[in-house]
Symmetry: C2
Subunit: 976 residues, 2 copies
């Protein structure tokens, strides 16, 4: 028979610390402490399995579990020599929830359970303190009434205030035993009225009620939300801990307190906590009395203090981690009520992990395993002053898209952001949603705040890319961009008003808040020396240990040299994705890009027409033929002009791209740089279709004749934009499809890459370009694009002067790069080759993954584009999913946002198929991933298991990725 109830007490327990799944963190801790001979009040734990049954059965338990609980209670009464509800020396118990992971939002604690009209007298007799007994009883009724019976707290507060007023008492403690008796009567009336029945006098009924309330609280919305945010599965369930009460409020020889073995905010090695004499545990937390620093306990109860220090030090060594403990001293006797690994800030986590190694408590690998990778993020971004933050009112909450604190003046357009910041103002850019056009504004803003969009919307992706604090999808904002006004609930802001956002929490505060910079970032950016920062040195030691463990290579997604530099400083060894098009939006380039697109489209059109005319000419005779010939000549001329414009624009772009690429090569110091050829649909670079339509309509309404020239110009532009318009651009003319229909663009980009490579190699810096063809769904696409790249490579590398410097430089060997000399590089034969390069592909179309065996015949590497793979595999447009994805997450249809954490069971199959088939064809094929998931710890664990060679993430996620990759290897070692 399954055991559902686990007893602890009398020096031994049914459970132990390894049973967190079944007993929860608290229950297994109590069992462990009991087994370790610590002074723990006895009791029992009802397991999480019972909770799951309760949820499944829609809110009831099986009778046999009820019986088991009853037996455990009998045993507890026997051990304590007391009886629940007895008129003499009654047993009182606490009832606490305790899941595997500590979790706010769930019912926490009910104290003093077992008090009723009869046992309250027993308690009075035993303690000789009538006021204490009555006060305990009225607190119990209030807590039980609220938590178990669902009665509004206000109803009780109302009665308490009434009695206080009547008694002219200022504080609760001013009420005497008599007055508290009245409070109890009034409370009982409240219960009867609101719950429709008397306050339960049967202690066993009280216990059943409390237990069910704990189970129910597992599914309450706040708990559900918390689990979602923290990736905790919904089917873990919570345990219920029933424990004999001890009293910290039995006079001045009693006390109660909470503490940490180290400072959880700073990580400093100091005994940290608070206590109150003559008080119950909830008083410490409630903030009614101000507790004393725990150091003061030594003065008032030196023996208990010594014992507490001794026990907690032992606990820290035992659990090999900071302990967060609760204790009560009843008449000079110390009881440990709880201990658990302490929650801590990212800062503290790094300090503590490294300190524990230095103290010989942890081995480096264990330290690596202890630190939550995501928490490192806190070290890399400015933060609000914690005291100011605590006082500030949060006006709205969005999604924490890119961490860090930002404060500044509200601006509503990218142009305004630039204007204001040129005047030396710090600004926060507030938009409905951002678009590629906004990049210049985003780059000067302190932070970005949007009303729509999810964790992988444009603002979120670019924000993370830039390391710029961003809060997105903040639905409470009502933005009036034209009027440059913003409403948040009852508040209204205009351009220039102060706002602050916290990209780590999603909070929005409507005032200026002081921020302090990240120490790590100051070192990385050269503003501080490593030796000036103990934190940075520990951070680097920890990540150094992680590097020794991990098998996955870590690269960064970086488009410009500045980002590449940061990424390298954070430990990225290689660029996994350079989006060449991001460079196209720069102000000095966009006009050439637009010209390139419009003339290419004109050329395409011309080509179509000439082909058609040529076809007609073949069938035409006599006069008709002459006419066709004339028309053909005209079109050929026009086509020639378009092609000349097109080539001209490409020629302008070539040196610009070349210099960007050269910068990337330099910053990567010989590590591979993966450059993706043009990916987005061309219309993204043109004015918006609907904007042109509106402009035209306005001009027309104002008078066709007056605005003839402008109308003609706009109409022409609109026609071109219309021609490129797509219903579903995500699935449209983009990726390699562009390079195939406009081979000249691929040719120009390849030339820029190889010319940059030669340029840098000549300076003695080794280079390793990897040209990556996007959106390949069919091997033929890759084959043709590869041919173009190889042709250009042969031209450029063949023509380049073979300077001695370049020859001498050589190339660092990169284990993750695998077979650099394998196949494919044959386009240029080794003796004449200065620059080693590869041509590979993104696997981001489901068909690409499914036919990876074919594609691997041509690809020298794969890089999974998990963003698009998720979009297509799941049929979800990232930009549109907000409308239902939030609903799905809130209603439990999905556990996690598949754009944040890879959908391992669905889209993950495509990754696994791609890896398996790719390596079937080419056993040593180098495979990476460069989607947003590359910086997500859970996804990194998946990629590690799937056998990838590297992950590539945004620069600011590199430390997280290094740590997560190490933890993945520790959890599930995979050989090289």
């Amino acid at each position: 028979m399954t055991q559902y109830v686990y007893f602890f007490g009398g020096g031994k327990a049914d459970g132990n610390k390894d049973m967190k799944d079944l007993l929860g963190g608290k229950g297994s801790g109590l069992a462990e402490m009991t087994n370790a001979g610590l002074p723990v009040p006895p009791g029992f734990t009802v397991s999480t399995a019972a909770c799951n049954l309760f949820v499944e059965r829609g809110g009831s338990l099986r009778p046999e579990i009820d019986r088991e609980i009853s037996q455990a209670l009998d045993r507890l009464e026997k051990l304590m020599g007391k009886k629940l509800g007895a008129a003499e020396d009654p047993l009182l118990v606490s009832v606490r929830s305790g899941a595997k992971f500590s979790m706010p939002g769930m019912m926490d604690t009910i104290l003093n359970l077992g008090l009723n009209d009869q046992s309250v007298e027993g308690l009075k007799k035993k303690t000789g303190n009538g006021r204490f007994a009555r006060d305990s009883y009225r607190r119990f009724i209030q807590m039980y009434g609220n938590v178990v019976l669902g009665i509004d707290k206000d109803a009780f507060e109302h009665e308490l205030s009434a009695v206080k007023a009547k008694q002219r008492a200022r504080a609760d403690v001013d009420l005497g035993e008599k007055a508290l008796e009245e409070v109890i009567e009034r409370y009982k009336t409240v219960v009867k009225k609101q719950a429709g029945h008397d306050f339960p006098q049967d202690p066993r009924e009280q216990l059943r009620g409390a237990r069910d309330a704990v189970f129910k609280s597992w599914m309450n919305p706040r708990a559900v939300t918390y689990r979602k945010l923290n990736d905790i599965p919904h089917d873990l369930g919570t345990a219920v801990n029933v424990q004999a009460m001890v009293f910290g409020n039995m006079g001045d020889t009693s006390a109660t307190g909470v503490g940490f073995t180290r400072n959880p905010s700073t990580g400093a090695k100091e005994f940290y906590g608070e206590f109150l004499q003559n008080a119950q545990g909830e008083d410490v937390v409630a903030g009614i009395r101000t507790p004393h620093p725990i150091a003061d306990l030594e003065k008032v109860m030196p023996e208990a203090y010594r014992q507490l220090r001794e026990i907690t030090t032992r606990l820290e060594r035992h659990y090999k981690d900071v302990q967060d403990f609760e204790f009560t001293i009843q008449e000079n006797k110390l009881y440990m009520l709880q201990t658990r690994n302490g929650k801590r800030t990212g800062l503290a986590a790094v300090h503590i992990a490294v300190d524990l190694v230095d103290e010989g408590i942890l081995k480096p690998q264990e330290a690596v395993a202890k630190v939550e990778p995501a928490s490192l993020d806190q070290l890399l971004h400015p933060i609000f002053d914690p005291r100011e933050r605590a006082k500030a009112e949060v006006a709205a909450r969005g999604l924490p898209a890119s961490p860090g604190a930002a404060t500044g003046a509200v601006v509503f357009t990218a142009e305004d952001a630039v204007d204001w910041s040129q005047k030396g103002k710090r600004v926060v850019l507030v938009r409905m949603e951002t678009v590629p056009d906004d990049i210049h504004g985003m780059s000067v803003a302190q932070g970005i705040l949007t009303a729509t969009g999810g964790m992988t919307s444009h603002a979120a992706v670019v924000g993370r890319q830039m390391g710029k604090p961003s809060v997105v999808g903040c639905g409470a904002l009502e933005i009036d961009s034209r009027g440059k006004r913003l409403r948040v609930g009852a508040h209204s802001l205009k351009e220039g008003d102060a706002i602050s956002i916290d990209g780590s929490t999603g909070e929005v505060v409507l005032k200026e808040m002081p921020t302090s910079p990240s120490e790590v970032l100051q070192v990385v950016s050269g503003k501080k020396k490593p030796e000036e920062s103990a934190l940075y040195r520990k951070f680097e030691r920890l990540l150094g240990w992680a590097d020794e463990v991990r098998r996955l290579g870590i690269r960064a997604n970086a488009d410009i040299p500045r980002d590449a530099k940061v990424a390298f400083a954070f430990g990225a060894r290689g660029i996994g994705l350079c989006r060449t098009e991001h460079m196209f939006f720069a102000e000095d380039r966009l006009p050439h890009v637009v010209k390139m697109i419009l003339s290419a489209a004109r050329g395409q059109r011309g080509l179509d027409v000439t082909r058609r005319l040529e076809g007609r000419l073949r069938e035409a005779r006599g006069d008709q033929a002459a006419e066709v010939r004339k028309e053909l000549a005209r079109h050929k001329k026009e086509y020639g002009r378009a092609m000349a414009d097109y080539q001209g624009a490409l020629k302008k772009l070539l040196p610009m791209q070349r210099s960007d690429f050269a910068g990337l090569f330099r910053e990567m110091h010989g590590h591979p740089v993966t450059i993706r050829t043009l990916d987005p649909p061309l219309h993204e670079f043109l004015p918006k279709r609907e904007d042109l339509m509106v402009q035209l309509a306005t001009l027309r309404a104002k008078g066709e004749s007056k605005n003839k020239a402008a109308i003609a110009r706009l109409s022409g532009l609109l026609r071109a934009v219309e021609e490129l318009h797509e219903f579903n651009p995500m699935l449209g003319h983009r990726g390699c499809r562009l390079g195939i229909t406009y081979p000249e663009i691929t040719r120009m980009q390849a030339r820029a890459i190889f010319e940059a490579a030669v340029q840098v190699a000549k300076k003695g810096i080794p280079v390793k370009p990897e040209v990556m063809i996007p959106l390949v769904g069919h091997v033929e696409e890759l084959k043709r694009q590869k041919k173009i790249v190889q042709e250009v490579a042969a031209e450029v590398l063949g023509n380049s002067k073979k300077s001695r410097a370049a020859r001498a430089a050589g190339f660092t060997s990169d284990a993750s790069a695998g077979g650099v000399l394998r196949g494919g590089h044959g386009a240029v034969s080794p003796p004449t080759q200065e620059v080693e390069y590869k041509v590979g592909t993104m696997i981001e179309v489901p068909r690409g993954a499914l036919t990876a065996d074919d594609i691997a015949r041509e690809a020298e590497f794969f890089s999974f584009g998990t963003n698009d793979l998720t979009q297509m595999g799941f049929g979800l447009s990232r930009d549109d999913a907000g409308k239902f994805l939030n609903y799905y997450l809130e209603h439990g249809l999905l556990d996690k946002d598949p754009f944040v954490s890879l959908d391992a069971s669905g889209v993950g199959q495509l990754v696994e198929i791609g890896v398996k088939k790719g390596r079937q064809t080419s056993s040593g094929l180098k495979i990476g991933i460069c989607g947003e998931h590359g910086g997500d710890p859970a996804s990194i664990r998946f990629f590690h298991g799937a056998g990838l060679d590297y992950v590539s993430c945004s620069p600011y996620r590199v430390p997280i990725a290094r740590l997560a990759a190490a933890q993945a290897q520790l959890e599930k070692p995979v050989g090289d």
Copy 2:
């Protein structure tokens, strides 16, 4: 050593009729005829393998193949006792291409090869006919110059005309030997000038040139296009046939002709063909002399005629098919030059197949295998009068999207189409592209012509659905909808001008053309009785035989009762897809749909706000709380109003949907009717965002104050539309995602389905509703939608009066339906259940296929939505792909349009995975397909092999699907 050259002659041949792959159709036919002892001029065939080598090597042959050819030529010379190029009785040969499948666009024939300045004299001497010899020589130079040397025909025509003018000759035949000598000299000058070298005198060099020209023609654009259109792989290659010439022009005892053993247009059993006395083969085809009906041959050469009839009759029995033959009679001796299975019209195919069975030549199953399924299409649509058609000039050509001929007045909008047709005019609707709004216009038009879009664009899909002739993607059209004008090349048309389109060929003719209706359709629609149509009876017999063979069930995609009726008449047994939303566009419904959407969105917004306010209320105190409470009350009221509107609109739609569904149930006579819940994104039903923006801009420009009310109204509507706007609607808020976020819609639709079912069942007509949930990517989606459907089913079916009629009706048993009584139907227990139903899902998201094992836990059937599966699996938006997909097809990146014929090697894997995993969980799971591919024979072959239970296609494709399914089973039998 591989043999590349196959000799035939002297009563035996190296090859035979089973070697079509290697020798091509013609070569294997010649070998077979030779082996059968028929009088075939001897020669040899260079195999397709040589062609493939030639293509691979970039245009050259291996020397050993050259040697083999040389040896074969020696053998031929020996057998004939003549020598190529000899001055006395020279051997002349013909050189012909011959692929496995006959194919226009490739080089066809070069005759008289071997003639040069010396052998022309030999020919003169041998035939005693100087004019004939010279004429043969000049024809050879002209043909060789054009085909092999690439010289423009005009250049030769020009010289011929000059000589004719000089001689005052009216026709070629008027030129004497002398004049022809001058023509020859002039021709040689043309060759020298244009080719840069003399006309080759060495016959073996001539042969090499001709052979290479044949090989090259394999890759010429017209041939490539033809193969693409006809699904012929590009790597088959063509053979080259070199054959001793015989002469039909050696006086009146000679003749040449072509013929068919039956009429290839009508299928009538008649000896059909033409001949010319004293002529060469090309004269028959060239149309310079009018050939005589073949029956006349009996009069002029009775013996040869008798022999020809005897031989061709034998050939027909031998090949078990109509023969298309060429013959030459040289001095009363009959030579068979070629025989092959004759191409025929769809009409003829049906007549011939059934006749051959009746004549005992074919078994019914063989007849089934003989008819090209796609050719049946011709029987189901009106056609142009063939004679008129031959004379008409084709002004433009688009994609043949929906077959049939249509003629009428040009109209440019759906409204105009309705107006004109109400006035009794036949119209052709011409649009850039059609949208759902155009449906009413499309339904009254004779045909639809669009400038953009591919084979699966809206116009194409709906056109096929309606059985309406459609030509799409006709890029040559320049449409000015505002001006109601159309330009096609040099022609200009205005509204009301006549136009004709042929949806079977894609041709557009700019005049009225008489059409005749489909006989089969007349019977199906009740306008003609079956006994009045021999064609219909044969059609039904053929399909009856197909039905006996096939394993796949055939259903139809039909949204309205009228379509269902047609589908049933064509043999569909069940509806595989009813798109409920198509009914929403009807004029009487759209207003309710719009109201439903706008109020639902308002309600959603209200719900969001109230939730946020409730959250704030929990944390608020005092005055603040009071304020929040007030706001909350206001929003709750507003929300309530929105929900009331929403429910009101749904209530209006319910009876409309119910009556549609009832009609479908009635028309399907107890066969399953699969109804898909609402699928498209809601914004499709609203005015277009950009239209509203333009209207608003116009009003604003004309004066804000004047147009206040209109601006306010439009702004409100635009806001609502903006909120529903999506960047990639294909991957957005649609399919089950709608039903999940708006469960009331699913509830209404389920209610309409079950109420309709009860209504029809009560009348004694059995019903089998299958509710299909679209776009399921995760089992949880299906689970929740299924729950709603089952709840409604329990309500409706529980409430319905159990009339005796309904009980008595019972249900027909349907083999393809599989386990009707298996699982899932448990929602309503059998005794109270009048209507058996299933709840299943579309598998159209890649993740759905990948997790089919999970989804099968909930699904009672699967139906593959291969359109979306292709869009997502391939990352191709159907509406946008035109821009590059055509390029891909033209440039050989893809063999076929994956929207027309399922991409078996890529997207097909998802189908196979889905079937395998689905049946892993639920072994008898019924699986169908309802994408456009359901009517494509090649795709049907794939689905058959993948183990599907049925295919569902548009009503007019049902006969094709029946036949294709039978052929699939004949090719690759799969047990039940």
